[in-house]
Subunit: 331 residues, 2 copies
């Protein structure tokens, strides 16, 4: 809390104990009671590029190890395509259903704009490729501290153009979790403004849609969200690299969605620090007349309901996305 | 918090200040900083029927005065129809659009199962009648302490049958806020099990769907919800009148929705104590393959976004309901 907040009107919430909810699966009860398996280390000062590089490398090692179990759960072949500045990974799941033969997903990984690249970018894309039984491309976009905005967005736009040369736009879906949700929306907005055709569908999975962090759940779900726990303003500033946080390509919440944005499915949880980020974009899309479906999972923190292949919440999450693709993608 | 909760796993949230969010309208910022205009008095002991009668009478006077401003904002004619044990009010708004001539809404008022009857039941129905420009019937269902479950449900079912004798089921929509959301769902479930035809659409506006109060936001949004503030278990017990709280007609969350439940729109807010009540029913409906749209309003407490005709949130809320009716009702 800063001083500006304290002079504002508001509510003083006394100390209180919040039991693990019983209206969720046993798996979800377990993960809600367990801190995330990758340690949260203190962040270096914003200007300390070398410190951030070390911090990111260590974080990425942890997240990669954590995610590597996906390779066993969701076996797939991977082909690496070289783009101008980075790689685009093609994930070919064990089964591609005949209906989905010409369809593809462009996956844009999460990780706070500074984690989740390399092998982790492949691992993160495996669950949706398997669930949707659809060829999935994961962009290993460049990240800060070496490459702040708009490098990652440029890479994502290049990946989309690469796909447009090979697949029909009506057969392309975007899927971005967290930071990737920001990039998915920003890429579609940029592509639209460049006059490129629009993809058929978009998944914004608890998107980092507002770099200015005005959302109410940044306050109300502090600590209650066991994944993010609290705001990480430094990550947003690191990614923005001095650009105006209200630029719609940095904070897609502030974009004009009224000109052809594709049907979009948004997912979040009642404990999610990004619940406001999610519902505010949902409202913006609805106000603009865009098809936009919202799903909020009971008792779930940030992206928590998508991580355990044995949990009903995870199965349900991917079922919703798959149904949405079936409804809005061509064949 | 009871002792069972304390022995559970969970999170101890320290005292913290939550500023009024800035990403909502000025009107919403104002009402979020203002306690509800009807005083919250201490509840009498559960067995004290006379105490509850006095408590309810006083509460109803306050809520009726508060809601009476609607009569000016949304002028309408009212016709009173006598049912076997209570009244059904027909609200004829100033404008009924030609498309809506054969359509009707069955409105089931909120008020914690013990408030909101009489004149207040008319006032509560005025905004939707005006927004949807549709003839609306408001059931003045019997309530505890004199008439616990299933009296109110029986009255609502009788109102529905009364409508079925006069209107086509495909032209009937249900709309229930809070306690009324419980009764709307319960009435449709009971009608289905009685073999009656199903209505065309249903609005569950922050429904009291789970009398066992297992939802996580009963805990996470305590105090943060400036309307309900905290659980009122006594109200649920008063309404249940000794029946099993898990009976699907008392807690519609536990119902089987897989047999013809109509398309349903659900609305809540990120601060709503009943957010879990809302999203859990949404998930149940989706699991059963029912058309179910969810809308969650940023920074909003229980039903707060439906009360100010000048606020954009209120306008948006009623716009969504009206669009939903236009999509799913016959003509």
């Amino acid at each position: 809390m800063n001083d500006a907040d304290r002079t504002n009107t508001g509510i003083l919430v006394p100390e209180h104990f919040i039991p693990t909810p019983r209206g969720i699966s046993p798996q979800a009860q377990a993960w809600l009671s367990t801190p995330p398996p990758f340690a949260m280390e203190p962040e270096p000062p914003l200007h300390d590029k070398e410190g951030w590089r070390t911090h990111a490398e260590r974080g990425n090692r942890n997240i990669t190890t954590y995610l590597s179990r996906s390779a066993t759960t969701y076996p797939a072949d991977t082909v690496t395509h070289a783009l101008s500045a980075t790689n685009l990974y093609e994930i070919v799941p064990q089964t591609i259903s005949p209906d989905n033969d010409g369809r593809v997903i462009l996956f844009i990984h999460g990780g706070g704009f500074y984690l989740g690249g390399g092998e982790a970018a492949k691992y993160q894309a495996l669950p949706i490729a398997a669930a949707a039984r659809t060829r999935t491309f994961s962009i290993d976009y460049r990240m800060p501290p070496s490459h702040p905005f708009p490098a990652g967005l440029d890479d994502t736009v290049e990946a989309y153009r690469w796909l447009l040369e090979r697949y029909k736009p009506e057969n392309i879906a975007f899927y971005g979790p967290s930071a990737g949700g920001n990039l998915a929306a920003a890429c579609i907005l940029k592509a639209r403004d460049m006059g490129l055709p629009m993809p058929a569908a978009c998944v914004l999975h608890t998107p980092a849609s507002d770099m200015t962090e005005l959302g109410d759940t940044f306050q109300t779900n502090v600590i209650i969200d066991t994944v993010l726990v609290r705001r990480s303003t430094a990550l947003f500033l690191l990614y923005a690299g001095g650009h105006d946080l209200k630029d719609p390509l940095l904070s897609p919440l502030f974009a004009d969605y009224g000109k052809g944005f594709p049907p979009t499915i948004l997912t979040s949880g009642t404990r999610d620090l990004f619940l406001s980020n999610t519902v505010r974009v949902h409202r913006k899309l609805r106000q603009a007349g865009v098809v936009a479906d919202l799903h909020v999972f009971e008792g779930q923190s940030h992206a928590q309901y998508a991580g355990d292949p044995n949990a009903p919440e995870t199965k349900e999450h991917f079922d919703e996305l798959t149904k949405f693709f079936d409804r809005y993608l061509g064949k």
